[in-house]
Structure formats: C-alpha cells, structure tokens
Amino acid sequence: MNFSLLKLEMATCGLAMLVLMLEVFVQRRDRRFLGYVGAAGLLAILAWSYCPSVTAGGFTVGSGFGGMWVNDLMALYFKRLFLVGTALVLVMSVGFARQLEGGVGEFFALLMFACTGMMLTASVNDFLMLFVALETVTMSFYILVAWLRRQQQSLEAGVKYLILGALASAFLVYGITFIYGTTGTTGFAGVAAFLKANAASAPLKIGLLLVLAGLGFKIATVPFQAWVPDVYQGAPTPVTAFLAVGSKAAGFVLLLRVLFDALLPLKPTWVLLIGALAGLSVLYGNLAAMPQRNVKRLLGYSSISHAGFLLLGVAAADSFGVSAVLFYLFAYLFTNLCAFTVISCLAGTLADDERENYAGLAQRSPLLAAAMTVALASLAGVPPMAGFFAKFLIFAAIIGQAKWCLVIIGAIGVVVSLYYYLGVVKAMYWQEPRETAAIPVSWPMKALLWVTMLAVVGIGVFQGALAQRALEAAKELIK
C-alpha cells in the first residue's frame, strides 16, 4: 500500500476540506474569496506535480494497489489538466458568487471534490476503481447542477442530470458485473489477458457495451446526449463550464484507458463502433446547433459535436490520434473556459443567454466581445487559435488512417459549425444593442479573460511543447 501514489489526490481532497472548514471562520460577505484560496492551493499542487519527486524517481510513477492504480505520463497529463481547469473555474465562481445565493464555501469545496474524482479517473486501471472515481465526480455534479434551487431551470437541469446520470451509473455497474462474471476479474490487465486467450462471449460483449454506454453519457456522445442541452442551459454557468471541460475530459481518459488497456484485443471491433459514434455525434451536434438561439444551449450542442471530433481521434486508434485527443482536450479547456467566463460575466446584466441579448455587445464591452470571438473562433477551428491546431491534429490522424468517410463527415461538421459560431459573432459585432449602458467587468474576471484568451492564442501559435507532451503521454498508453 503505497499511499504516496495518491498524494496529489489527497492534497486536493485535503484542500477541499480545508476550504469547507475555513468557511466557518470567515465573515459571510468575505466567503467568496475562499475561491481564491482554493484556486491558489490547486495551482500550488499543480506546481508540486512538476517537482522531480512526483514525476521521476519511480516512487510515484508506476502502478499500485494491486494493479488498480496506474500513475503514468498520461495520468499526470490529465491530472494537470484537471487542476488547471478547476483552478480557473474556481476563479470564475468567485465572480459568479452573487448569483449563487449562499453556501459558496460548499460550492467551492464540491468543485474541488469533483476535481479529486477526476484526478482519480486519470489513474484508473480497474473497473471497480473506474466506478468509484466516476461516481465521485458525478455525485458532486448532481448537487452543483441543481445549485440555484430557486430557479426552475436549474432544478429541471438537476433532476434531468440526476435521473439520466443514475441510469448511466446503473448501466456502468451492471456492465461491470457482466465483465466480472465472465472473466472473473475487474482489472484492465486481467480482462485484456482474458480477451487475448478466449473469444469474447455474448455476456462479456454485453457487459463491455454497457460500460461504454455509461462512459458515452459522460462524454456526451450520440446516442447518450439527450441531457446535454437542458443541463448546460440550466446549470449555473461555472458548473456548465466545469461539466464541459472537466467531466468530458474525465470521460475521455476513462474511455482511452478502457479501450487501449482492457479492450485492446477487440480493437478492430471497437474502432468501427467508435468511428460510427464519432460520425453521428459530429453530424448531430453541429446540425442541431444551427437553429439554437440560446448561447449556453448552443455551446451544449457544440459540446456534443466536439465529443464527436474527439472520438474521431480515438477512432484513429494510434498514438498520433490519441495525442491529438490529449491536445484537443487542453485546447478545449481554455477555449470553453474563455467562453463561459464571458457568459458568467454577463449573467448579472443580461436577462438570459438568448443570442438577441448579445446584440451589440462589442459596443457595450469590447473586452467581453473580443474574448467571446476568440473562444468561438477557437471552437470553430480558426487559426491562430488553439482549436485550429487541435482539429488539425485530429484530421491528420484520421487521414493517416485513410478513414475517408469520417474525414468527409468531419469536414461537413467544421463548415457547418462556422455558420452558427459566426452567428454569435455577427450578433455581437454588427447588430444594434437594445441598451447601450456599458457592462462592468470586475478585474479578477478581466484577468481570467486575459489568461484564457492568451492561453488559447498561445497554444495555437506555440503548439510544440504541448504537442510533445501529449505525444509522449500517448506513446506510453500505446506501447
């Protein structure tokens, strides 16, 4: 039992509990600043993860707990992604605190508990561990999504997320019982060994399909996407952002681990399945986003389409495709946080997130409009934004595998997505505003906007370092 393998997770969990306790000692009106404490703590943990004692020297890199746990470069890559994402979401939540109606300390703590769960998912090497880690994330989100309990939309989103999430968890655990029943093991390595030695029986296939269905819910791919638009629209904006960047990435790391560790012998089969899901998600997400008028809802549909693009990289099924997925997730993190920060800054001023309310935003707040434009351009995959290089890698991966059908579907998706993303830009820049009063933006939010914008452009122009890390992590997954 080498607990030092878990030290990043334990530190994050401890930090969450610390914030929870600190809340008692802080004046009610100052409690929202606990978010900064949390963010600073997470960044400290992030810095710690770069210490040689964590990354090298062997004692934390490796597997433990009877093979249930693996700490490799990909795990570290994702843990860092979750730490950065959660820290930025915490800062965003501080700006959103007025809308939260109390209990902000718990809100911050829950975000960090969810982060702990996500960091656990990064190291999962066993189906039981997978379930535990995923439920840690999902449970936190049940509460977070329904946080605005006086608002009907938030409650509706909460109920929807709870019911469909519980259904997905049921799929997952049911599938795991099938797997255990047929193979006699829950470890990824054991399942892989079993599959190598024996042909997959029907109950085992059912079990694996059920597990994939449970994960499909997390990453919001077709046909498990039904919850996305309503939940994205109804949840508090920082929670939506966290769902988009954190929950999705957690789903993807699990999917990668299951597919490339446990199910590697079945690769020819699941490549077809993932490819089909990818194509459907790209088409559905993009086509359904076209008529949307609510910006948060639109980003919900766009999140389905991005799940599709990410799955394209998975369907390429080589180290290059996986590295593209890893790069994409980081680019997507900053891009989405930039977009949702803008939405959360507007939450106090605009009546709702309808596109009409964004009309003339460029005249009311040039910074918000510019940040939204950068984010949307990155989502659409326009240089010099990070999203462009991410899509470039994904397409390079599937063209490399000569999957021309998927290339064509992806190309259609990219062009269609330009239409609705640019529709928002159009509203912001050349429709006349209904009101002309300037929209105030507090300086921490300004800082957050600048950080995310610079990150989006920075990753888009200086892609080398991140692409290298992603490739190293991917090569470790696919030996």
Partner: protein
Amino acid sequence: MDFLNILNGTILTPLVFAAGLCFMPARKWLAIRWLAILGAFITVVLSGLAFAWFNINDPGFQFVNRVTWVESLDMSWHVGADGISVVMVLLTGIVGFAATLVSWDITSRQKEFYVLLLIMIAGAMGMFASLDIFFIYFFHELALIPTFLMIGIWGSGKREYAAMKTTLYLSAGAFVALIGLIALYLALPAADRTFNLPTLLDYARQHPLAANVQRFIYPFLLFGLGTLVSLVPFHTWAPIGYACAPTATAMFHAGVLKKFGLYALIRIALPLLPVGAHDWNGVLLVLLLCNIVYGGLVAMRQKDFNYLLGYSSVAHMGFAFLGIASFTFIGLTGAVLVMFAHGIMAALAFGLSGYFFAQTGTREIKELGGLCRPLPFVGTLLVMTAFASVGLPGFANFPGELMVLFGAWQAPGWHAKIGAATVSWPVLLALWGGAVIGAVYMLRAIRNICFGPTPAKWQSLVDANIFARVPYVFLLVVLIWVGCYPKPLVEAIKPATGQIITAIEKAMPAVAPKR
C-alpha cells in the same frame, strides 16, 4: 527567430502595429489612422527592399530563416523567397499600403478596422513568405476572419449575407485544401514526413509520389484552392462579397488574398503532384474557359459596378489558370505576372469604385453618368483602369496575358484544324472572352459612368484632394511601370518557374512540355 530577416520584418511589422493599436484609446482615431498608415508604409518599404535585394541569378530560396516549431511533425517557422514569392510579397506591400490609405471613408470604430486590416496584411505576407506548408495555410486562414468581420461591420448592402457567404465558401475551400495538404504530408513514408517545402521538393524530385496517389490528392488542392480563386462553379461568393465589402477589404481581398489559391497551386501542387495536375488538366481547362467566357458574359449583364468588377475578376482569374494549365515555361511565368498585374488593377478598380460610392452613395451604373466632368481626376483614372482591365498595351495586364496566351498556344494537344490552319482552340476562346467580351462590359460601363450628360444631382461632387489621390496614383504608376517595363519582374520570376517546369519535365518525360 531572426528579427532582422527582411521577410520576418514584413510579417511582423503589421502584426506589431496591430498589437500596438489595440492599446490606443479608440477616440484618438486620427492618430490610430496615421499609425496604421505608418505600419503599412514600413511594410511596403520592406517588401520593396526585399524585391530590390533579391538576387535574380540565384534560383534557390533567399532570405531564409528557419526555426523549429513542432519537432514531432517537422513543422517549422520557415520563411524564404524565390522569384514567385518575392513578387507576391511586393504586391502585398503595395496593395496593403494603398488599402490603408484609401480608408478615409471609415467613420466608425476606426481602431478595430485598422487592427483587422493590419492583421490581414500580416497574414497575406506570411502566406507568401512562408516555406512551411502548415504556416502557408495558417497565415491564409489568419487573414480570413478579418475579412468576415470587416464585411459585416463596415460593409454596405446585403452585408450580413455577403459576409456569411464569403466566409463559408472560403473556409470550406480552404478546409478541402487542408485535407489535401495533410494527405500530401502523409503520403510520404513516416521517416521522411515534413511540412518543410524545400525538403519536400527535393524529396519529390528524387522519389516522385505514385501516380494514383497524385491523382487522388490533386483534386482536393485543385477544387479547394480553386474555390479561393473563384474557379467556376465555386465563384458565386466573389461578386457579392466584393460588392458589399468596405473599399479597403475589397481592394486587399481581390488584389492579394485571392491570389493565394493560385500561388499554392503553383508552389505546392504543380511541382509535388505533376502527374495529378497533368491528368486533371482537362477538367481545369474546361472550368477556366468557363471562368473567362461565362464570367465575362455574366459581367456584361451587371447593373452594379462592384458586381461587374467582381465578375470581371472571376474572368481574369481564368487567365491565370490558363497559364498554369498550359504547363509551359512562358505560360507559367505569365500566370505569375497576371497575378501581380490583376492584383494592382483590381485594387485600383475597387478603390476608385469606392471613391465614387462614397461620393454618390450608389453603385448602380445607370444612376451614375457624366462623372468625368465633376470628377475629372478620378474619372480619368477609372478610364485608364478600364483600359488596363481590357488588356491594352502599356498596362501590366498586357504582358502577363500575352505570355499566358503564348504559353497556351504552345501547349500540346490543344490544337484543332480549322480549314488549312492549325489553331489552339483554348487560345481562341480566351482571346474572344478576354479581348471582346472584356472590352464590351468594361467600356460600356465606363461610357455610362464617366461620359454622357451629367445629371444635376452629380454636378456638385468634389474631386479627390491631394491626400486621397496618393493611393490611386501610386497603384497606377506601378501598373504603367510594369506594363511598359515588365523585365525586372519577369527576370525575377523566371528562375523559379523554370525550376517548376524542370521538375515537371523530369517527372513526366513522356508529356514533356516545351520551353
């Protein structure tokens, strides 16, 4: 990165000025304008110096600077110029400077306008100066989004529709081309994969790609890049885009950005995929003749002067394509010269049209009339631009189109016997389309706009003042200078096009084109 490298200078100067303008207070718009003009001026001086210092006896790439960018993909910041690039860099500088100068008519949100314009100039510089396939594409896309915003914010008429249509067409075209470029990158064995163009050219010289691979990849590039150059039937974005765009955007896009497709075809597709290009040549020939003839016929029916100019640019692009399709040394050299000449001419035409529009508020040819009387200076310039467009000797278009036609005449397999004479039918059609149809629509429009009785409402128009004249005169001087003395440009272009033709000859001895 070598910041003293002149090509890096041409890319980074407008970018630095754009970044600097972001931090200026928006109400100081006059200072912003002058700073933008200064930035564009430094850029044009640098591009002029690059052309002046360019050694025409050296057939390789000059002013090279290479910095590794993404090692695992062998992607690098790699600038360098041969004769084709250096001519296009010069064109970008000239048109960019003129477009910045003419923007007096922008009266709202000047800061954003000049920032976007400078980004566009930097993007265009980057795509012509880069020697890395990824960055060539990257810079082109960088210039595209400003186009969308500029048409939408400062445009006129159906600007929202035009902005959306132009952007979707161009993005779709660029994306198809990107798929082709990635496929090209992946067609090499894993150890030799690179985005570095000189290495790729060397590689292709020694190990030509398999013919079926070439035939598969080339249409992606042809139709993707063709969309960007308004190759029929993907041309419908061009007229409405230019009609609705603000003057500077129309000038810069029609003059410079549109040439990207041709440039990439000449630079990437021809030397790397000669067999593919040869096998798809028949399709290209039919489409480009549609460009010349059909584009010209549609231009005859236009009532809006900018639409007419838009269709005329569709027709002119056909000539550049004809030079490429001819597969001959003189034709290809002529194509590059046409790209330069049309760039200057289109910029001048759209600039003058913008001046008329700012004065009269209309672009309807019927509404205008007799404008040479109240506006003698601008009117005369417009007449001369029309002469250039028609291809009159003395203007830059003439030598370019002449060389293209010579090249097309030499092209093997395009001849038919009519009576006793053997004639090249594409040349006949192109001549008819360019010289006859082109003359009809241009001269008719000029007659209606500049001559005839002057309606009372146009009597009080004021001619351009000395400041407003500068960009027009600048462009016209270049047009006449190149028209009368094209030698410096041709001498610079020749070694580069010669190398491309040599590469084709080596790859396909069977269909060796003539020198």
